[in-house]
């Protein structure tokens, strides 16, 4: 709980208004939102656990389960869609053996789709962690994923 201490110390009198920024910081520290940390946060701030749970489950970015070491984000924006986005998503699923939203069994990769990465000139595009890979075809996907094993 040390990390949680640090986060809450920075925000004395944290109230409901600070809930999302605090959750974002917890996720940055722990990689996801561990339930014990959320319960402790509820105790310390007085924000109801049900409210915390409601917010954590509403927003796409919050994860209640541990994540893989590498995050593969496939863009499903409109520009990517008309340039073959769905085929790229399928290729990633085939290569990793998981559906969007899931993590591989060995906890190596988490695969998610995002509505838009804002880099439409690279369509179709994916991100692995903070690296962008654009102008993709289904054939290029396995080789890119290899770089992270």
């Amino acid at each position: 709980m040390e990390s949680l201490d640090g986060i809450l110390d920075n925000k004395p009198n944290a109230g409901a208004n600070d809930l999302i920024p605090i959750l974002q910081q917890i996720q940055t520290e722990y990689g996801y939102l561990p339930k014990p940390v959320l319960m402790e946060m509820s105790k310390r701030t007085g924000i109801a656990a049900s409210q915390i749970y409601g917010v954590a489950t509403f927003y796409e970015q919050f994860h209640l389960e541990p994540r893989g070491r590498h995050t593969v984000r496939c863009c499903r924006g409109t520009a990517c869609h008309v340039r073959g986005g769905p085929d790229i998503a399928e290729a990633i699923s085939r290569a990793l053996g998981v559906e969007p939203g899931d993590t591989t069994e060995d906890m190596h990769f988490t695969f998610e789709t995002v509505a838009c990465l804002g880099t439409c000139f690279l369509a179709p595009v994916i991100m692995v962690n903070n690296d962008y890979y654009g102008h993709l075809t289904a054939g290029k996907v396995p080789e890119i994923l290899e770089r992270y094993t």
């Binding site: 600070d18 920024p21 409601g54 917010v55 509403f58 085939r94 995002v114 804002g118 962008y132 654009g134």
Partner: protein, 614 residues
């Protein structure tokens, strides 16, 4: 961090003059886009440049500046070299020595890196059609300054309009000037900005809030991203003016978490502005206090809707609220709140600097100023395009955009994201503004403009948008939560070749009802892509239903790839198949294993003998 303290407009102008003078010491500037272009190696190019210039002792008179978006994203990494304004694309670290030699030492362009028009190199930026035919007013600083240095923004006049407004005008005067300019909200709905400010101004109380909606949720839109990453101080300046006008002392910038560079640059800008009294207590020596906090979105499209955004900042699930009361009366924490889009704020300094009259000379009768479009899809020159309101689609897509990829015919332009519509070729010469675009079944939207060709299935596009909206629906109201699911079910069955004409009629009826009955803009506009594609591309719907055919080759359930007898056995298809579904000996007719085939269409695309049907 600068130690300047701006205590009057004179301080600011003096600083600007001093900066202009010291900028004169550089005889050339190498501007490298470090935002979007980072994705294709811009950092390596910049590093190599700095390294080589250091080795050649040229760093005293040549500046290397890491800028925001230079605009022509299709040729990333992009570089602009002043004073000649040579524009280079697809630059790699290996090109650096030649650029230093040819351009920096001998003032000549490196022709192979320039844009080609009609086969000839066009080195100077303003001669390139993509740029020459735009009118970059709001984007004027993007690509010319280092967005992480407030000095660069000040040198180009940022904050002068704001400090002048708060020290020499009354808030009411600022509101009236903005109303007179005719500025309408750039987030998509196009409500008159000054009028919106007036409502907040007139609300009683002295605890008021100003929010910048930087969620930019429309897939395919990246205008706000470029502004926040490339010229953040312009946006802050607009917010300061707006806060003064309505009487707010606290502001928020709500930016989507998927934009880490924007978050970084805004944070730097906020710190720098505070450090020289351009934000915080006593801005510019006046008694006006205003500070801004940054908040990151958490991945919910619906939080681009203003009441949902407010709920999110309050720490709740992002669910919209009924209006009235409007945020101007009761918003954040129940207090009067004004929310505007990033591009709207970025327009504000222009109005206060040059006056409402000058601003309103550009645009059409009821839509003033310019609009930034994010041009993407099947167009040659993808990137940022700023044009006066009233510009035609043809000018944007062909004159500026360079036309369709592979010179295929134009099929449609999708405008307005999931709330918008698809505009067919017959409207290419239509003047686009807030009102005219509604008459042809679309909305202006935030500015995402996706170009489509014959390989885009319009039914699939409607299905795609519905799928998106269904995932993003907050679930609060039945018409949207259940209605969009029903519409999606029908569209999926059309794409699977299992629908009837009755289903199409139901789809249209549902669309009309959901428009009228939904609680917020998400549900109210979710049916738009359906209604506009059924209206403008009805044939495709009928073909899917009655003939079980997808002419664009997208809906996989309606496709069956087969190799014909004319196949010469070249093996190109076999090599490109990602699932090894094609077998065949050299010079013999090949065959596709239908069980393995994933209908990706790669074989169809690569066959030079028209031997594959679908």
């Amino acid at each position: 961090m600068s130690d300047k303290q701006i205590k009057s407009i004179d301080d600011l102008v003096a600083w600007q003059e001093a900066l202009k003078k010291s900028a004169g010491k550089y005889r050339a500037r190498v501007l490298i886009c470090m935002t979007g272009c980072r994705a294709l190696g811009a950092q390596d190019v910049a590093a190599r440049f700095k390294e080589r210039l250091g080795e050649l002792n040229m760093t005293d008179d040549i500046a290397v500046v890491e800028t925001g978006c230079i605009g022509m994203c299709a040729i990333a990494p992009v570089m602009l070299i002043e004073p000649w304004d040579y524009l280079y694309g697809h630059v790699t670290p290996d090109d650096v020595d030649e650029i230093i030699d040819q351009t920096l030492k001998n003032s000549k362009p490196v022709k192979r890196l320039t844009v080609k028009q009609d086969g000839a190199p066009v080195p100077v930026k303003s001669n390139i059609n993509f740029y020459g035919k735009q009118k970059q007013l709001v984007l004027a600083n993007c690509g010319r300054i280092d967005p992480r240095r407030i000095e660069d923004a000040i040198e180009r006049g940022t904050y002068v309009a704001a400090v002048t407004a708060i020290t020499e005008k009354t808030p009411d005067e600022v509101v009236e000037e903005t109303i007179a300019s005719g500025l309408r909200g750039r987030g998509g709905a196009g409500f008159p900005t000054g009028v919106k400010w007036k409502f907040a101004r007139q609300s009683p109380g002295d605890e008021k809030y100003l929010i910048c909606n930087a969620d930019e949720g429309d897939p395919g839109a990246f205008m706000d991203r470029a502004l926040l990453e490339g010229d953040p101080h312009r946006v802050l300046e607009g917010m300061i003016i707006a806060a003064y006008a309505i009487g707010a002392t606290k502001g928020f910038i709500y930016v989507r978490a998927e934009y880490p560079i924007a978050v970084e640059h805004i944070n730097i800008a906020l710190d720098q502005a505070r450090a020289c009294r351009l934000l915080g207590e006593g801005i510019g020596g006046s008694d006006f206090n205003f500070d801004i906090e940054i908040r990151m979105g958490a991945g919910a499209f619906v939080c681009g809707e203003e009441t949902a955004l407010i709920a999110s900042i309050e720490g709740s699930r992002g669910m919209p609220r009924p209006r009235p009361p409007f945020p101007a009366v009761s918003g954040y924490l129940g207090k009067p709140t004004n929310i505007n889009n990033v591009e709207t704020f970025a327009n504000v300094p222009l109005i206060l600097k040059n006056g409402a009259k000058a601003y309103s000379r550009i645009g059409t009768a009821k839509s003033k100023g310019t609009k930034i479009f994010a041009l993407a899809g099947k167009v040659k020159n993808t990137g940022l395009v700023e044009v006066p309101m009233g510009t035609t689609l043809r000018r944007i897509v062909y004159d500026i955009g360079g036309g369709i990829l592979d010179d295929k015919p134009f099929k449609a332009a999708q405008l307005g994201g999931p709330s918008g519509g698809c505009i067919p070729a017959e409207y290419l010469d239509y003047e686009i503004d807030y009102d005219s675009v509604q008459q042809i079944g679309a909305i202006m939207g935030s500015g995402g403009l996706i170009v489509m060709d014959e390989d885009t299935c319009m039914v699939d596009i409607a299905r795609y948008f519905l799928e998106f909206v269904q995932a993003e629906s907050c679930g609060k109201c039945t018409p949207c939560r259940v209605g969009t699911k029903k519409m999606l079910d029908i569209l999926e069955s059309i794409c699977a070749g299992q629908a009837t004409m009755d289903d199409l009629a139901t789809l249209q009826r549902l669309a009309e009802d959901i428009k009228k009955a939904s609680l917020c803009g998400l549900g109210q506009t979710a049916p738009n892509p359906v209604l506009s594609t059924v209206k403008n591309f009805r044939d495709e719907y009928v073909e899917h239903i009655e003939q079980r055919k997808c002419r664009a080759g997208v809906c996989k359930d309606l496709l069956g790839y087969e190799i014909l007898e004319v196949c010469v056995g070249c093996g190109a298809c076999r090599r490109v198949c990602p699932v090894d579904a094609i077998t065949g000996e050299k010079k013999e007719v090949h065959a596709i294993d239908q069980d393995k085939c994933i209908k990706c269409g790669q074989c169809f695309a690569v066959c030079k003998f028209e031997a594959i049907t679908r």
